[in-house]
């Protein structure tokens, strides 16, 4: 097992999953240490990996340098890996040293393929996060610009 079940269970994204489902996900998640200033994703590049923060602080900048920062365990980076356009819409930079869990997009697609109910549960959560971040991604604040 690459990641332990308890760590996964403590993450908001996987909180509703049962042990059997977590067991399927665990081997697909890999732990990675990041250092201050490390770039996790680059805007416009093909999205191949998504990250879940375990510790550390991260900055996500999107179109026209609109930015927000992530500081909590369970926050996600690289959602474009699993939703259209499958290209990173933002650049993610580590503001401090930290730990992330990463999953390859290919593995996630395979997971959806092998257990669609589980994939659906995760996708619902991801969609909620995507809709929260949508203004940053699309710049839908156009009229209210400074």
């Amino acid at each position: 097992m690459s990641t332990d079940i308890q760590t996964l269970k403590s993450l908001d994204l996987f909180a509703d999953l049962n042990f059997g489902e977590l067991e399927q996900i665990a081997p697909l998640m890999h732990l990675m240490k990041v250092t201050e200033g490390e770039v996790l994703t680059r805007k416009g590049e093909p999205a191949g990996t998504f990250f879940i923060i375990l510790s550390g602080n991260f900055m996500l900048s999107f179109k026209e340098e609109r930015t927000f920062t992530l500081h909590n365990k369970g926050n996600i980076i690289g959602l474009s890996t699993v939703v259209t356009p499958f290209r990173y819409t933002g650049t993610a930079v580590a503001l401090t040293d930290g730990l992330v869990l990463l999953m390859q997009g290919q593995d996630f697609l395979r997971l959806i393929q092998s257990n669609s109910a589980l994939g659906d549960k995760i996708m619902q959560k991801i969609n909620e996060i995507v809709s929260e971040r949508m203004p940053y991604m699309t710049g839908a604040w156009e009229e209210r610009r400074y």
């Binding site: 602080n57 026209e64 609109r66 920062t69 500081h71 209210r144 610009r145």
Partner: protein, 145 residues
């Protein structure tokens, strides 16, 4: 030799009884040790926090407390002057990546973690539309106390 005779001749019973006893003792001891690890960690953490609390209270006694001291760490205060100059030069609201880029070009040390500290102690706060501003109110509050 066969049967009980063989077992007795090779001291089989003794080996088996002692063998399984050692296995049990090992795992009982390991189980006990394992059950104490988290308690020891908790104890260690408590000791550390209480030590820090005592240290803090000693520092409190030495000088009069100020709002700014409580809210913003010393090293962040020092760096804030340099970052504030950069922000003034950029104009507000400013994009965070641009501040990061400029601070790196100006050779400020650890720009990423410093900006993170500013955000955490709310010296830099999000404005609308994904841009940020310098928290003048907090700064004024600091200077007035």
């Amino acid at each position: 030799m066969f049967g009980l005779e063989a077992i007795i001749a090779h001291d089989g019973l003794g080996i088996s009884v002692i063998g399984i006893s050692i296995v049990f003792v090992s795992l009982v001891l390991l189980s006990f040790a394992v059950s104490q690890i988290h308690k020891l960690i908790e104890l260690w953490d408590k000791k550390n926090t209480s030590y820090q609390r005592v240290k803090k209270s000693q520092q409190k006694d030495q000088k009069t407390p100020s709002v700014s001291d409580l809210a913003i760490p010393q090293d962040v205060q020092k760096a804030s002057r340099q970052f504030k100059l950069l922000i003034e030069w950029m104009g507000e609201p400013f994009p965070l990546p641009k501040l990061l880029d400029l601070s790196g070009k100006c050779g400020l040390s650890h720009p990423h973690s410093t900006i993170n500290e500013f955000i955490k102690c709310e010296l830099i706060i999000p404005a609308e539309n994904g841009y940020y501003v310098w928290n003048k109110q907090l700064e004024e509050k600091r200077s007035s106390t």
